[in-house]
Symmetry: D3
Subunit: 211 residues, 6 copies
Amino acid sequence: MRIIYITLFYFSLLLSYASYATSVNDFCVADLQLPNTPSGYPCKSETNVTVDDFLFSDFVPRNTIDPFNVRLTTAFVTSLPGLNGLGISAARGDFGLNGTVPMHFHPDANELLIVVKGQLTAGFITPTKVDLKTVKPGDSLVIPKGLLHFGVNTDVGNAIASAFFSSSNPKMEILDYLLFGNDLSTSIIANPTLLDVSQIIKLKAQFRGSG
Amino acid sequence: MRIIYITLFYFSLLLSYASYATSVNDFCVADLQLPNTPSGYPCKSETNVTVDDFLFSDFVPRNTIDPFNVRLTTAFVTSLPGLNGLGISAARGDFGLNGTVPMHFHPDANELLIVVKGQLTAGFITPTKVDLKTVKPGDSLVIPKGLLHFGVNTDVGNAIASAFFSSSNPKMEILDYLLFGNDLSTSIIANPTLLDVSQIIKLKAQFRGSG
Amino acid sequence: MRIIYITLFYFSLLLSYASYATSVNDFCVADLQLPNTPSGYPCKSETNVTVDDFLFSDFVPRNTIDPFNVRLTTAFVTSLPGLNGLGISAARGDFGLNGTVPMHFHPDANELLIVVKGQLTAGFITPTKVDLKTVKPGDSLVIPKGLLHFGVNTDVGNAIASAFFSSSNPKMEILDYLLFGNDLSTSIIANPTLLDVSQIIKLKAQFRGSG
Amino acid sequence: MRIIYITLFYFSLLLSYASYATSVNDFCVADLQLPNTPSGYPCKSETNVTVDDFLFSDFVPRNTIDPFNVRLTTAFVTSLPGLNGLGISAARGDFGLNGTVPMHFHPDANELLIVVKGQLTAGFITPTKVDLKTVKPGDSLVIPKGLLHFGVNTDVGNAIASAFFSSSNPKMEILDYLLFGNDLSTSIIANPTLLDVSQIIKLKAQFRGSG
Amino acid sequence: MRIIYITLFYFSLLLSYASYATSVNDFCVADLQLPNTPSGYPCKSETNVTVDDFLFSDFVPRNTIDPFNVRLTTAFVTSLPGLNGLGISAARGDFGLNGTVPMHFHPDANELLIVVKGQLTAGFITPTKVDLKTVKPGDSLVIPKGLLHFGVNTDVGNAIASAFFSSSNPKMEILDYLLFGNDLSTSIIANPTLLDVSQIIKLKAQFRGSG
Amino acid sequence: MRIIYITLFYFSLLLSYASYATSVNDFCVADLQLPNTPSGYPCKSETNVTVDDFLFSDFVPRNTIDPFNVRLTTAFVTSLPGLNGLGISAARGDFGLNGTVPMHFHPDANELLIVVKGQLTAGFITPTKVDLKTVKPGDSLVIPKGLLHFGVNTDVGNAIASAFFSSSNPKMEILDYLLFGNDLSTSIIANPTLLDVSQIIKLKAQFRGSG
């Protein structure tokens, strides 16, 4: 009887594979050419998906955040399309001496920071609590969504950290870039921050803002 | 050394801006020309987004819900495309004398009703509780998703209310329109509602239903 | 005064219908020709939607899962496009004598299994608990997402069961198909499973795997 | 070397089981004695969980929805605590001659209706479309969340249907019970529905409403 | 026969009411005495719920945000427990002459701002775009989650605005309070913001910060 | 006038801090003593929260997964309570020579694997695709939720990898432990897997299963 099973099996397996192929949505690799949606990019056709859509091979120091002496590399959905719809991503920070990830927040992503080399002083800020920690290799620090935070290399040499995010495409809102790096006018900034006009002008010069 | 930083900074800022521009998804303004998805409309290209996509300038009395002597204006994603994917929207109701928002429910949105002018009697209905309140300026009333509710102007003049919803595109299911405003046949209506045939015919005439 | 109301009503109803038509998203029937997104398929234009998009008329025995003597029929979004975005779907299993739904799991869907005819022995497996039950007509069994489970016809005749899922497009990961039905090489399988090479080769022959 | 592995293995397995036991949240069976939360009931301690928390053995005709000649049985989280947090549940309807599930809606759950025996005429209602279908064994009908719907036994004998929901605890809002079964006053009902006072009084008598 | 139905009906209605009472979770009014959860507060027992849990009667000017000449009143879950789990809330801002809602962001809530009286200049800030608008009565402005924004009264008299949020308990992170109102040390602030030490000391004095 | 502002400011700031303290839910640190819920553990009282709730200082090799020559350490919510409700967590794997993370899947979490030292051969398995990659330091690999996967140290020395998950408490379902490490009887296993009885008995001995 087994032989009959086997024969049927070969035939029906084709059918069931075909049926599973259409009904299975194991992943949704981003087709970055199509317009984004609130839930992420439309999916590439499965026939065009390859394992390389899931691999990021370039976690080397890259974009400098000047003048803060830090370089950032990001594995977000736009460079690692297999992350699409998965709610996870990563970044690497390479800190020079006194290097600092400037004061910023991620409105849409929780972060888990892991120190790989050296030592950072890091923490997040709430109106009533300021929690700073010296974070070393083997330590990791949770930074909940939307809390203002920063990290400073307080080691005698370079430092390296990895950060993981609960979003495939987290936003990084850097205070100095927002306040001093665009065309927001000085008086508009002064009013809701109470910063001195001279301070604003000085930092606009540094961060290339106009207005 | 500062001068070198600054120089590098100008260069790298360009890079990092470019990099942030691709990785940041601050918002997803609806491209209303493309097909909707379960999570909302696809996003307009960021280069076509303007501040006017986030501004609704037309909160004036508009669509009359007759014969109930109420006019409704809605700031939903279809008229305010910046709301796309944000899970929030608003409406304004202008009530004439005895004006009534008819019995209805929003299956997909919680509501917060705020009286701006005059006085409404409003409430929601559950099988075991009927909670009516006289709601005045400065009051606001919560109406959880899917509960049958209504509002009547019980003031001596006109009344105005704002309503806020936990959806960018809330549905408003008005009982009379559903039961008497389409081509559902009288006998089909009578069976699962136990309404009298004469009552159904009378209201079909009023609400333009056929069938 | 009523006559005026009525007149206004006819006019304004047209307006409000038009306005509701644009703002209402009662459902999102899948346009299966467009690329999928993480939240489901884009919606068909409402003017093309018909009641048949919501009806599945073909719950008859269909794809055989051989050599397990079971036939499966699925009402997933790909055959019932009205399910798009709704997070629900169904399947029917027809079990021959000793028919077995092989060891599998649904990573993205909880399941509710209802026996319609006959008797199944079914259960799910955790590292510390194995919960087997004899399930009869009138019984239903919950199988939480991601738990390994199976079902065996332990009746003297055929058996029929319905299964319901908390996803519009649930995945079904069958162990034997994953391990022995593709081109994964025998040594690669042996290492992380500790299965004997002879066992792997035997099952690869049965499940048509290469490698 | 293998012997050492095995020894270590027995020891470490205990450790890893312990560690997995605490870190694994395979399911969250409802502790119905504790207060509910917006995401569902708190979980029973895993040591008190048994397979019976996942089994519902009582899918027999139960609560009569009078005077509609239909009996409903529900497998919701309150009777099947293993459903807690899983977003799925089921009901069974037994229809007598002309039996009718009265006009109602589920604000928080999509529905998949499957006819098991006999024949139902069923459908859902939108302001512009009324989609009625005769649904027979082997057919299933999708009813999206919040749409007004009903089902009538149009067979010559009894009929049975199963319904599946995308919620562990779906609400069923029956129009007649909401409008005529509580203490909402007749005049309050008349105003936002335009039903005749005599009609309301008649149905209040039938549905035991006061006010 | 009708009389029998009615009799049965009275009896069975009791049963079905009881059954619906346990299975229906129409709302989840916060029990603020119990510990919060990630999805909101546990629900008050339904027998203790009253209509007043859904009504907020105190939308009058309240907490002053000094020295910015603005008063804020919030209808969040902690003062309006019926909002629990509903993902919506509201606030009212009363602006004196030149009154300003200081630079802030809501990491967990989208906002819809509606001007009730007077005129505000408001906008949100991104690294590449600054979108300011003069917003008047009848206008409303969308402010997506996590974007830095502010509002200034640019009318000749007082101004009033309502704001609606896509969270029952939105956070308001005010830059000055975070940077200058706690015990974060001056040098720690200076490093990741590049603000001058003298500026920090001056604002710490104004915002009561130590450190 | 400034002096008056300041005075008011000190007074009102107390008020607004108090008000913000109650309305702000910046985070929800797990109170592990209370029963879990479907959305995570109830929150510790904010007054008991310290920065140490957000810090994990113990990312050293720990639980051995024998006989696979791999040690795993997990920073999940049960050891890092600040992760509660945040949808993110991490693990570290230390691979000995030929060390292998055995065939497993995470039904509720997407994974991002980053190789820190050495070289792994890793991949995930679908019915139609097997995607294996050699992953080196600086590489990272995406493993979507529910896909069967494994990792083998193919370097000449030890290897170290970090893994990040889109869940605060991800499940790890190891095939061998599920099939051979509990009291599931040999015949029950054989039927839905088609494994030979002798193979099952051999692996039950190795994985300490009974039955």
